[in-house]
Amino acid sequence: MTARTVIRNEWRLLMADRPLRIALGLFALLLVYALANGVVWTRFQESTVEVARAGNVERALAIEQELTDIENGAEPASPFSDPRLPNVLGGRRGRHTAVLEPGPLTALAVGQSDLLPYYYDVNIYTNESSFHQNGEVESPLNLMVGRFDLAFVIVYLLPLLVLALSFNVLSEEREQGTLALTLSQPVSARGVVAAKLAFRALLVVGMVLAVSLAGILVAGDFGAPGRVLLWCAAVVAYALFWFVLAAWVNSLRRSSAWNATVLVGAWLVLVVVLPAAINIAAGLLHPLPSRVQMVTAQREASNEAVNQRSELLARYLEDHPEMAEGVVADEPGLGALAWAATDAVNRRLEEVTAEHDARRAEQIALVRRYRFLSPALLAQEVLIDAAGTGDARFAAFQSQVRTFAERWRDFFVPAILASEQMDASVLSDVPQFRLADEASADVVRRAGVPLAVLIGLLGLASAGAGVGLGRVRGAD
């Protein structure tokens, strides 16, 4: 009996089983629906990013127009938004929106992209508290539930289909009395199960990968082959893990009903209970530093700073002698005074936030260790990281915006301190945000760790299944 016979046989059997046929069809439908959902979300993000970019251009043009008019003798439209003032040009009116393009495979995994902001308005008043703005104005209920995307179908539903296809891969033969017959041929139980499962795996993984690649074709780009490979590797490893687990349970020589119960139990524990329990345990063992405390500390910092404005200016000028030119120390301009307070607030905020962030990073590192316990958590992490919608990419974006905000301040603040006016000639030099997106290689390196662990779990289960199947005899 060759592998081809097994596979042809299997195909006929599978197609004869109506519930399985329905399950396969339903799964294909869900895959397509999930992909459509992800594509809609990507388009929404793309159009938002487009609008933000257009806003940048529009604002710059309006300001340029007004500055030219003023040069030609016109009065500014309002003394409060006179674009010649550096705190207007660099302030809310002339702000620059820094945007993060949707990740290359966002259509496949929405990930954290509906929760974390992907654009920030940057102006001279941008400080740490600006980064606490929320993401989209999404209903909290929808955020809690999460999106119906491919990553969800893969992490939650794919294992169930795999188990439905393979819980009785060996036990059924025994129950129907064909096992002895099959094993009397020159094949091993290992070979039979491997052939049967290889066929099913090809079917399931093929379906998922086909839809994924179609999704990349429609709404992503193949410009990031590393990410695409990572995605495919995670899908294959995760699906195989469940197939092999089913083979292992089958090798224990129990009834089909027992296999089904145990496998569904394993799914429940690994996909639903364990992650939920880890989340609650992590909160108890490694509580994140209090957000309320941080907000209050930030608030206190700004109060202190505002209360001691003039001392602050003196200190600021001492710290930044390069800025002191043009500022008459005894009689500082109102703008300079206000800026000194703003700057002091920012410094205090940075201190408070840095302390909070450092503690938070420590706790999160501890919490993230627990993800090695569940293949579902591992797969989820690799998938959203490959898609460019994981926590790390958003953190990198935020830190680049932080640097950009500094550049922005450095550009406008000297003029504020010197009470200078600006004109149209500076417009071409105003900083522009350019995102240095993470390279595919970095992503592969980062997501390689959970992927390696996932593959390790797969190896472990394979070893168990191999040993177990080696003991199966036709006479069982």
């Binding site: 938002t48 609650i280 209050t296």
Partner: protein, 482 residues
Amino acid sequence: MGLRNALLVARRQVGAVREDRYVVFLLGLVIALGVVAVLGARHHAASEAEQRARYQAMVERQWVEQPDRHPHRVIHYGFLVFREEAPLAFFDPGVGAWAGTSLFLEGHRQNTANFGEARHATGMLRFGRLTPAAVLSLLLPLFVVVAGFASVSAERERGTLRLLLAQGATPAQILAGKVLGTGAVAALAALPVGLATVAIAGSGAVGPVSAGRVAGLAAIYGAYLAGWVLLTVLASSFRASSRSALALLIAVWVALCVAAPRLGASVAGALHPLPSRAEFTHQVELAMNEVGDSHNPQDPFFRSLRDEYLARYDVASVEELPVNWGGVVSREGEAVSSRIQEEQQRDLVEGQRRQDRVLSWMGFISPYLAARDLSMAVSGTGPEAVEAFRAQAEAHRYDIIQRLNDLHISEIRYENDRAQRLSREHWAEFPTFGTRPPPLGGTLAARSLSLSALSLWILLPLLGLGLARGRLARVGLERSGS
């Protein structure tokens, strides 16, 4: 006689479950998970509440301890409020982690609440947390399925069903007994979580909890689990084998409890899309630009206001007004800008409510959604609690800002306005902020959809059992005949 037979069958069913070591093991597991969830959640909620109270007190003290200040300076100084979680949030945290927890209140603008817990955790939180509500609504149904999928079918497979019928038990009595027996096991599994919740709520450690809310939760989860018990026995009675009953029930569980919530949310989002944050801010800005800028005295809106005041007091210039014109501008500007922002905010919330309503309709498909909706409502942790916080904080903000503007108008002279200070004694006269949870009656009244969905969830399987009653004997005979 009928009741006695049903009770006998129920005892038989409980006995069968007790003999099944696998089910007993699962029972222990579910109970252990439930108790861990209650204790963990209570600890989490208590430490959060303690911190929130501490910092709210600190912020209030800072407010009162302000030095003599100009009222407009205080308007910009602002005030920080924190969202208090409902006492029952330890049982069902609802959308709490996904909504903002602190809100900065200041003049001229409505900030949005930020610092939601989820923003600061990792993507792992998407898998949900093991809360007492999750144990009852997700895990217990599965336990009910495992404890009851064979209740009728195993009797049939062993041939004892015919014996029972021959001994005079009617099909209705047998089915009632199976429902009672499986229900008793389910109740046993749910009891520890329920008792622990009642004990914590009753101890007052998490704040005052009304008995009505606890009873409401008991009723919701009672009904929800009863539906699962009925469905399980129904599937067991009409499927030919225990195995196919189990497969069917597990498929139903996955569809209703795992897939339906996400499907529902995505359908809701597709039917009623919300604007992006950038778009929303832009809308607010456009609307604000239409009325004008209270900081700009040349603005047409404020010019006509000035003319009106000059005419009313019959004077020639704002300097001669008996009230402080600067304060009047500030007050009227605040009134206009608050109204506009509130309108925009209402539109947004209306959009979110429309999405939530789609999910309520989905409750007819998935009782899990209906039970979750009701559970959040009764626990006081649903979207409307978050919205109530926002609305109350906004009302508080408006009240405080306008009091400050009134002080500006009456206590500060127009001449040399900014050099004057208001005595610090005034600060203590301002009201403090406290979240008032939306009343239980109102939140439930707005959830008639979920309530009827949950009732249907019991009625439909009950109806099915009524129909299956007639078939019970026949299915048994057909099977033994084949």
